[in-house]
Assembly symmetry: C2
Homo-oligomer: 409 residues x 2
């Protein structure tokens, strides 16, 4: 809405992201059990202290055999016992002997091959016959064939996925060093936010920002605390001052523009926060503010001030808060933007825009389509949106042009 | 590993998925607050009981003006007051009057346009001058321009995303009817699963399946209960019988093949479960078992028996459990497979395979690359994998062929 004159001196989206990555210090580390560490970043390389498989084992339900060479159809073997998975055995096979065995069970000493039960005929309790050709070493999983002792399992900086938890668990790893997750306080400013339905006639609105941020952190599986504060300088100052003592990150919504009631920035500077940037050449979310405070113990508190309109908060969470949380955990990389094909023209704007779009695959090609109601006080198109797409400043785009974006929760 | 003879009568992956969708009854509904309902499915259409914006409001920090027509540069107005966001006012503007106003504040009666503060010069406490041309209705957000009373906000069956929570919150919605999330019990079978490091010499292995399933449900934000059971018919039977009385879904790992210690299927049938399918023509996970029990009160308990090898459990969770949980919540659709370009040849196999692959965008085209160590007892490639790709039975594929897959957690 503002004229070009007010855009002077604004930094770009990429500059803002780079400053977030450059200016944040990685938090300390902590030891965690794997079942507390989903989506957390490893603070150390993890090596295997075991072989996988741990021992040579049968890959099938069948019979462990001892033979001098490969086996011809109709060869008979003496059955001398059984080994169930998870049970050990002192059995030793000699030539011509067989043991009943199950998937995952440790093959006995002397085993040269394993016959799956489908190719075995049981003659009686002590005799079996192999019905097909069988070569040496069939259906045996060799000790260490997947992982050997001392092998790197996972690298410092890797994020713990469900698959990574399963994979480390299988190698007997239960506790690993992780970078701490930031302790986050959320401050919702604005006298216009209604506390209840009765508040309404007085020009207030329902709060979308608190529920939005709460749900966003639920989605990433983390706890936060939310505070509401009135639009007075004293109230804002005393709350920020208190929070800055014990939180790693204070996220605020509203109160960062140049209005007479925009207290977040002056109060933060007054408390001793150092401004890293203020105002980004983007839509929505121009008056975004980022600052840091170094505490007496040399630890830091960061403050990311998002504008109060809900679209700016939404973009702020998906693009900036996400990058900042990763940076505090040692991940100093820009978001992983996808490339997609635009399915329609997009008009030029003086600022870079994040448009809420719907992305879908057309065969293997990702295509994106803008949704209506993109204004900064509107959110209803988030019912259909699954991505945010960057439209560079000062460019009009054509159907078929390649754009970059992020999938969103 | 098995010969073609044992594949006879197996159902395909698509048949198995269709049976899961067709044979499950949707659970009952429950009223939930939005902050408890992330990722849940709406059981009703949701309509707005308010307009959005709730009232006509300023889109900027500036001045509400009353003028007969569009305004020429250097027109002066009498300043008669101020309206802050969230505060109401009885002020009424007459021609030639102005009110100081802030973003989101209700515009006073008589307002014909709003001047953003950047184009206004303050002469003194009671006079302002507009410096540029200004047309009628500038920077006013009209009541109901986004949403009007009675408009559909969200549809029955829609999943509640972060954006949907924000959007409904903004419309003052706080409680909605959702389909219940299934109550899930997980049963890990197998004497080979080590309880502690000391158990080792005896042929046991570390459990990957319990941690995998626990983390998978953490990722989707749901609670489950995990039970471990020994490989005896009595232990399996008494546990399944007990769980079938109060859970909607029993997920088991191991014990569903034809080995002498595979008790899940016979025990379930004995208790009164009705088999929906057993054995799917796929790798990994062939001996998968699905059954249902109708209880005396006409409610149902479902049992999905996954094979014990961790790769089969992983595929089982991502493809089948995921579809089953959705079906129980009324979502009777196959997974949304992506299409991608294969970057290398893939050899033929008699069964359909789910290969763990790494997917990435090459410009706007999604390309997938297979990872080594795909065997069913191996999981270490999950450190790099971000998708499961379907390789159809009996086809050898070439670099450049289109394949279908799912992104994974």
């Amino acid at each position: 809405m503002s004229g070009c004159s007010t855009e002077h001196g604004l930094i770009t989206v990429d500059q803002a992201l780079d400053l977030i990555l450059e200016q944040t210090h990685t938090l300390a580390t902590e030891k965690l059990k794997l079942n507390q560490a989903l989506s957390r970043y490893l603070a150390e390389d993890v090596y295997s202290s075991i072989n996988l498989p741990l021992f040579s084992q049968s890959a099938v339900d069948g019979y462990a055999l001892c033979a001098q060479s490969s086996i011809e159809p109709n060869t008979e073997f003496n059955l001398i016992g059984e080994i169930q998975a998870g049970h050990s055995s002192e059995l030793k096979l000699k030539a011509g002997q067989a043991v009943r065995i199950f998937t995952g069970a440790k093959i006995p000493f002397g085993t040269t091959t394993v016959a799956r039960q489908e190719i075995v005929q049981v003659i009686d309790a002590s005799r079996i016959k192999i019905m097909e050709n069988l070569k040496a070493n069939a259906d045996i999983r060799d000790v260490g064939e997947e992982i050997s002792i001392g092998q790197l399992l996972a690298s410092k900086g890797q994020q713990l996925s469900v698959g990574a938890i399963a994979s480390l668990s299988m190698a007997g790893i239960s506790t690993v060093e992780f970078v701490q997750y930031p302790k986050v306080a959320v401050v919702i400013t604005g006298d216009e936010v209604a506390e209840s339905v009765e508040d309404f006639a007085t020009g207030k609105i329902f709060d979308a920002n608190g529920p939005l941020i709460e749900a966003w952190f639920q989605q990433v599986g983390q706890q936060i605390e939310i505070f509401h504060v009135a639009d007075t300088e004293d109230a804002v100052k005393s709350l920020i001052q208190k929070l800055s003592k014990s939180y790693d990150l204070i996220l605020t919504t509203g109160g960062v523009s140049v209005g007479d009631y925009d207290f977040i920035r002056p109060v933060a500077l007054d408390i001793g926060f150092e401004q890293i940037f203020w105002k980004v050449k983007q839509k929505p979310g121009k008056p975004m503010f980022f600052a840091q405070l170094e505490r007496n113990d040399r630890s830091h508190c960061y403050l990311l001030g998002l504008p109060g309109n809900p679209a700016a908060v939404y973009v702020g969470m998906q693009i900036y808060t996400s990058s900042l949380l990763n940076a505090l955990q040692g991940q100093k990389q820009q978001p992983k933007w996808f490339s997609a094909v635009l399915t329609h023209d997009v008009k030029m704007d003086g600022r870079e825009r994040f448009l809420r779009m719907s992305a879908s695959f057309d065969q293997s090609i990702l295509k994106v389509k803008s949704l209506s109601k993109q204004q900064s006080h509107m959110l209803s198109n988030l019912m259909q949106a699954n991505c945010l797409v960057r439209i560079p400043a000062g460019q009009s785009l054509r159907e078929g042009d390649i754009v970059h974006g992020l999938f969103i929760h």
